[in-house]
């Protein structure tokens, strides 16, 4: 075990988990991920009107954003839609994943699999036009023009993004524990609640996070499905693209980032004691 010796010489204990270079690559990844974010934050303090032409320090865009209820409502609307869509998508995706993974093939399994992944297979503009025509006729017929359409459209679009991580997790799980539970006369629901769900949780979290992010980012479907007064942050941005994007959106994004980080830190501090023992 030459490598172990080398590691020992360096004064580190050999860890079977470590793969050489992986930590470095991961760190590079994080740096690359955050470099543009840092730029974005810096330009939110630009005194000028541009997101790419520095004219001095100022916090005026924060005041402008604070006064602009349109952009605030758009940001709030984005968050509401993304939360709802991620919740719906991860719930139905979890159920579907349980039905289609680790089970003997049954008629229609492939069809279900393809259907769930279908939203991935066509460019967004196509789904957008199809949904526009379909939803418009419902809007005319029912008179309801609320956020429901956007939530359904986003949830449906997010299903594969939630489904695939959950499925991957399920496939990597062995079924012995569940079988044991069944042997101990646990009802299927008990077995699911107590065994499958906790084991599946990381997959569901990963899926829900993906769904959330995908919904937050969605432009084209939203652009076509939205009714009057339903701009989200991305469609608001898209409208600005042709003219000029001002640092106002940087300010909003930065505020959202800070808010997220604060909430997360609070969450971690609050949960510290209960989860004190690592791994």
């Amino acid at each position: 075990m030459a490598e172990a010796n080398r590691a020992a010489k360096k004064g580190k204990t050999f860890s079977v988990k470590t793969m050489p270079g992986f930590t470095t690559v991961a760190m590079i990844c994080f740096i690359v991920l955050y470099a543009p974010i840092v730029t974005l934050v810096i330009y939110s303090f630009n005194a000028g009107n541009s997101i790419a032409f520095w004219e001095g320090f100022s916090i005026r865009w924060y005041f402008i954003a604070l006064e602009n209820t349109v952009v605030q409502e758009a940001a709030l609307r984005s968050l509401i839609i993304a939360t709802a869509a991620a919740a719906i998508a991860s719930t139905v995706a979890t159920m579907a994943a349980i039905a289609t993974t680790r089970t003997r093939p049954f008629r229609g399994r492939t069809a279900i699999y393809l259907m769930i992944n279908q939203p991935l297979m066509v460019p967004e503009i196509v789904t957008a036009v199809a949904l526009l025509i379909f939803f418009a006729s419902i809007k005319v017929a029912t008179g309801y023009t609320g956020l429901g359409y956007l939530i359904i459209a986003h949830a449906a679009f997010c299903v594969p993004f939630a489904y695939l991580p959950i499925r991957a997790r399920l496939e990597s799980m062995d079924s012995t524990l569940e079988a044991a539970a069944a042997d101990l006369y646990a009802t299927p629901w008990q077995a699911f609640r107590r065994i499958t769900l906790p084991l599946l949780a990381p997959g569901i979290i990963a899926g829900a996070m993906l769904a959330f992010v995908i919904s937050l980012d969605d432009v084209i479907i939203t652009e076509f499905v939205k009714s009057a007064g339903q701009d989200t942050l991305p469609t608001y941005m898209l409208g600005q693209l042709r003219r000029a994007i001002t640092p106002e959106v940087n300010a909003i994004s930065t505020a959202l980032l800070v808010l997220t980080l604060v909430l997360l830190s609070v969450f971690f501090v609050l949960t510290r004691d209960r989860r004190a023992n690592p791994d």
């Binding site: 541009s50 602009n68 509401i80 709802a84 006729s137 409208g239 003219r243 994007i245």
Partner: protein, 343 residues
């Protein structure tokens, strides 16, 4: 937890949309970042109407959405060459703005326009031109030519941008080749195609964001709108706007009421409201284009009163042409050339 989030989201969603049932409303569907918030505030206060502005990013998106129905918009602001399409498809209300009180303020020039004879449907919002912007430090020659992007001088090779607006770019290229916009003449189009294909390797990019990139020297020339160039010049004095002498493209976006609008009376009030010089000036002060209302100049910001980008110099006044609505056949030809250009 999922169920609770869902409920919360549902309640919040309801709260957000329920405001839409109040009386005295107006839903405006306009280009993004194009509507002055001050103007909206003034209108809301004057008439006690709640105005909601929703954005679109292209004439085609607006057309598609309004044609599909169920959108809830009252007012839309299509470009001149799209107004006849909207009208022919029966999507606009014949609101007769020409009979409104403030119509007298509309410049003589804009009272009877080809896309809306006699102004039965639309009221001018803003107008401008599509020409070229050049950074003098990179190229000191005459900027008033489409050759800036169709046959770029040595100094500008690899530094020219073209906005991804098929109709405007084709219009400029056709006039450069000596044809009329919307022509179906194959001889002219062949020349256009060859010119574009030869010029393309000398372009830096085909994209938007020209105001920023001209300001920070990211691009040294671009096909660009006059108002955008004006704003770029304010940030970077080296930027000049050129009116191609071979012919440049003019455009006007006009306010129209949608046929299935629910708030027709408020929409008419709004039409009349923006023909007031002081209010029209607010539109221009925000988006930086001319508005077509006589007497609005005195309310405009000082820097716009003399700007050569906004006030067309006399020598180029007759070189501009409004894009007509091209025939489907012409459009298919242009799409084929546009595709070949970007394949």
């Amino acid at each position: 937890m999922n169920v609770r989030t869902l409920l919360l989201a549902g309640v919040a969603a309801f709260a957000l949309t329920s405001g839409a049932n109040a009386e005295g409303e107006l839903n405006i569907y306009n280009w993004g970042n194009y509507t002055s918030p001050d103007l909206i505030k003034k209108f809301e206060e004057k008439y006690d109407v709640k105005v909601t502005v929703t954005d679109y990013d292209s004439n085609d998106t607006a057309l598609t959405k309004i044609e599909a129905g169920g959108h809830g918009f009252d007012i839309v602001v299509p470009s001149a060459n799209y107004v006849p399409i909207f009208v022919n498809k029966g999507l606009l209300l014949e609101a007769r703005p020409d009979e409104m009180e403030n119509f007298k303020n509309v410049s003589e020039r804009w009272r009877d326009v080809p896309w809306d004879p006699g102004r039965h449907y639309t009221v001018p919002w803003q107008w401008g031109s599509t020409g070229v912007a050049v950074n003098k430090t990179a190229y000191s020659g005459d900027p008033n030519t489409s050759a800036i992007f169709l046959d770029p001088p040595e100094e500008l090779v690899g530094k020219v941008n073209v906005v991804p607006e098929m109709n405007d770019v084709m219009g400029l290229a056709i006039m450069y080749a000596g044809g009329e916009p919307c022509t179906e003449d194959k001889e002219v189009l062949k020349k256009v195609r060859d010119t574009l294909m030869a010029a393309k390797p000398k372009w830096l990019s085909i994209g938007y964001g020209t105001t920023d990139k001209l300001s920070n020297n990211e691009m040294m020339a671009s096909v660009n709108w006059n108002g955008s160039t004006f704003r770029a010049r304010l940030a970077n004095p080296n930027v000049v706007y050129g009116y191609p002498k071979e012919g440049y493209v003019m455009w006007m976006d006009s306010v129209a009421i949608i046929k299935d609008a629910k708030n027709v009376e408020n929409a008419k009030l709004f039409m009349n409201f923006i023909m007031e010089p002081e209010n029209a000036a607010m539109i221009s002060a925000f988006a930086r284009y001319a508005n077509g209302i006589d007497g609005s100049e005195e309310f405009m910001p000082d820097d716009m009163k003399t700007a050569p980008e906004i006030n067309v110099p006399a020598e180029f006044a007759d070189k501009g042409q409004f894009l007509p609505t091209c025939s489907p056949a012409a459009r298919d030809l242009y799409t084929a050339i546009w595709t070949e250009l970007q394949k």
